[in-house]
């Protein structure tokens, strides 16, 4: 790769395999920074980062803020009830208002796909997507890939199954895009009501039988199951889901000895995975959290260093 040229991080569709690798490589150095006694470097001193969350989030927002602070950026949080979209203010309006505060980078999460793209179109500041609708959660997928690479050495040729509510999962979609780009073989597994139409065209296999796929896999990635799915008729009951797709000690026995068990958090223990598996030796759930900070540092560092050439007259 010649030079990192992305001013925004909106999704993994717009990154090449090489660029994804570059982020992961850069994140390695930042992981070292996070392990120091003084966990702070001056790289983004004087930069202002706004986190704009239209959806509740503690983990992702915290992880981003930590990342920004460890790079010495100034951060403000315009999230929660203070944000006004869908109360009459248009996206463009809001974007321009933020722009007027001379902000360098905006981290945005919204319940509807495409909002970060629309913001990016209207801003000179960098935009980093922290999750849009069911579409994309690029930093989660990057940290998942970082964790897999860190633990298994490489991603190419590895077999990964993503289990659960694929239909509503931006984590699944971003991981599918990223992992297939880096040459992993991805299977999605879950109740037929929660596997969206045409998902095979994203380059994955589909299975409704978790027991049949477990033995082959290098990575088992479990997704959070929202309790509302029962009321929306996607599921007959959470109990049936837990029995049919929940990952527990018995299923772990069927898996490869060095399998990785992953979960983007927060976990529903007893639903998508049992407590003993979550806390067990094959679980890398806490590594994912640690790596999340490093990956987000890398993303902030890289996107902030790139001028938006396209917008310069």
């Amino acid at each position: 790769m010649d030079k990192w040229s992305k001013h925004d991080l909106l999704d993994l569709q717009t990154l090449s395999a090489e660029e994804i690798e570059h982020v992961l490589e850069t994140a390695k150095s930042f992981k070292e920074v996070s392990s120091r006694e003084v966990k702070k470097v001056p790289a983004l001193r004087g930069k202002t980062i706004v986190s704009l969350f239209f959806e509740p989030s503690t983990r992702t927002r915290g992880s981003f803020e930590l990342a920004a602070k460890r790079l010495s950026a100034d951060t403000i949080n315009m999230s929660g009830s203070g944000s006004s979209l869908s109360k009459g203010e248009t996206i463009v309006d809001m974007a321009k208002n933020i722009e007027a505060m001379n902000v360098d980078l905006i981290i945005v999460r919204h319940s509807v796909a495409g909002v970060p793209h629309k913001l990016a179109e209207n801003l000179n500041a960098s935009v980093v997507n922290a999750g849009d609708g069911c579409r994309s959660h690029p930093t989660q997928a990057l940290l998942d890939m970082f964790t897999i690479k860190d633990k298994l050495g490489e991603i190419k040729g590895k077999k990964v199954v993503i289990v659960g509510d694929i239909l509503h999962s931006r984590v699944a979609r971003s991981n599918i895009v990223g992992l297939t780009k880096l040459g992993a073989e991805v299977t999605v597994c879950g109740p037929s009501t929660l596997i969206p139409i045409g998902i095979e065209q994203m380059g994955v296999k589909v299975s409704y039988d978790i027991d049949a796929v477990i033995p082959d896999q290098d990575v088992i990635m479990l997704l959070r199951l929202q309790k509302e799915r029962q009321e929306e008729h996607y599921l007959s009951s959470i109990r049936e889901y837990a029995k049919t797709f929940g990952f527990n000690a018995n299923r772990l026995k069927m898996a490869k000895k060095d399998v990785l068990v992953m979960h983007p958090g927060p976990t529903n223990r007893g639903v998508e995975l049992s407590g003993e598996v979550a806390d067990g030796a094959r679980s890398v759930i806490l590594d994912q959290v640690t790596n999340g900070v490093a990956v987000r540092m890398a993303v902030l560092y890289l996107t902030l260093g790139t001028k938006d050439v396209s917008k310069e007259e």
Binding site: H110, V112, G114, V115, C134, I199
Partner: protein, 426 residues
């Protein structure tokens, strides 16, 4: 005031006259058509090199008056209509308040007459307040001037209520236009359900929400008689059902919009809210099916579903943005570019679908044909002029179109309504 159009290559639905003729207009009527050019007229228009069509008719537009005049008014809507070559439009009742009683209709018609640019006929709702609970007073609405009823924007969902509406409308002799969408299946979907929506992670509406209502209404007409006109057909399955129903002699008709034979759901990848309409843009196969339906007559009409929304309304996230795009000013050019020039339809067929058959289905008298004694509503078109759709050039109050920047072929040069020139292109 009289008007003479010379060198007129007249295109009627039944035939295109290759020999240029003259049309003499006086007292708002077409008085004479022939080779004689010696008639004394107040004004003469030379139509050399152009096509002369009966004034275009669109039985499916939204003019937002009363209630949402910031999006469009009778006045701005009429300006947009005549710029697109339309001399008669029928406006849908999903206004605020809903057009569901004679008073609202009368108020609207007063404004239509004041503006006087074109013929705007209000459509009443089928159910009071479009609430899907009780029927409107159909006789009253017909008497006030409505030629059709529709709950457009949504379906009459209750099958029982639709049954009664159909039975009653037979007696009143008024057209029912059904917006086909089962809301329990569409469930707030913002785009077509399919591979694209799966990739984009946007809440989606499967095509069956449309075809289920089409199928139900075909069954109702089959059982009860009467007639249902299906608004904005967008998917292969609906068109197949209608084709089959027509073969069996079931009295249904259908319409389609230019965006449904031009664009696919791939456009949504831009997250441009001007690619969000209801029914949504669908797959290339559905686009093909709409064209086939237009070609073989399964789809009777081309309508715009002109649905103005302000910049502020549309500049929100995709799922919360309102449905719909404007269409009056691009309709004929898109039809020419996508259908006539690609040999899907002939000019005669387009005149049929954009004028003659519209008048027939809605029961609009004395319009839709260039014929002696008919209203002098005429649209003169340059079929070969190439132009680019721009915001600046748009007459509608709203600028929500996915077609800005697109190059189209065929431009309306002159629109004549009731013998008066109401639009003249520079």
């Amino acid at each position: 005031m009289s008007l003479l159009i010379t060198n007129a290559v007249i295109v009627n639905a039944d035939k295109k006259n290759t020999k240029p003729q003259s049309i003499f207009i006086d007292k708002g009527k077409i008085q004479a058509i022939g080779s004689n050019t010696d008639v004394k007229a107040t004004k003469t228009i030379d139509a050399k090199g152009k096509l002369v069509l009966p004034g275009l008719i669109d039985i499916h537009v939204h003019f937002r008056e009363p209630g949402q005049e910031y999006k469009e008014t009778i006045e701005t809507g009429s300006q947009s209509a005549v710029k697109g070559g339309f001399t008669t439009v029928m406006c849908m009742p999903n206004t605020r308040p809903v057009i569901d009683n004679a008073m609202v209709v009368e108020g609207l018609l007063k404004e239509v007459n004041r503006v006087g640019l074109c013929n705007v006929i209000p459509i009443g709702s089928i159910t009071r307040g479009q609430k899907d609970q009780e029927l409107v007073d159909m006789f009253e609405l017909k008497k006030a001037g409505c030629l059709a009823l529709s709950d457009d924007g949504k379906s009459v969902v209750s099958s029982q209520l639709m049954r009664r509406a159909l039975e009653y409308s037979k007696m009143v002799d008024i057209l029912l236009i059904q917006h086909c969408e089962d809301p329990l299946i569409s469930a707030g979907g913002a785009m077509n359900e399919g591979v694209t929506s799966t990739q984009l992670g946007i809440k989606a509406d499967p095509y069956i929400s449309e075809s289920i209502i089409v199928s139900r209404d075909i069954e109702l007409v089959h059982y009860l008689g009467g007639h249902v006109h299906f608004a904005h057909m967008s998917c292969r399955r609906s068109i197949e059902l209608i084709r089959q129903a027509k073969k069996q002699g079931i009295s249904v008709t259908a319409e389609a919009c230019p965006h449904h034979f031009t664009l696919t759901d791939d456009e949504v990848r831009s997250f441009d809210t001007n690619t969000k309409m209801n029914p949504p843009l669908r797959t290339p196969d559905d686009v093909e099916a709409v064209k086939e339906g237009l070609k073989d007559g399964t789809i009777d009409l081309i309508v715009t579903d002109h649905a103005p929304h302000s910049k502020e309304d549309k500049e929100v996230d995709f799922e919360n943005a309102p449905f719909g795009i404007i269409g009056l000013e691009t309709s004929l050019a898109l039809t020419n570019t996508e259908l006539i020039r690609k040999n899907v339809l002939s000019w005669e067929e387009v005149v049929d679908k954009m004028s003659t058959r519209q008048a027939e289905i809605a029961g609009i008298k004395n319009k839709g044909v260039i014929k002696e004694g008919y209203d002098a509503d005429i649209t003169i078109v340059d079929p070969d002029e190439v132009w680019t759709v721009t915001v600046e050039d748009t007459a509608s109050k709203s600028k929500n179109s996915p077609f800005f920047g697109r190059e189209l072929v065929g431009r309306v040069k002159t629109t004549i309504y009731g013998g008066k020139v109401v639009f003249q292109d520079k």
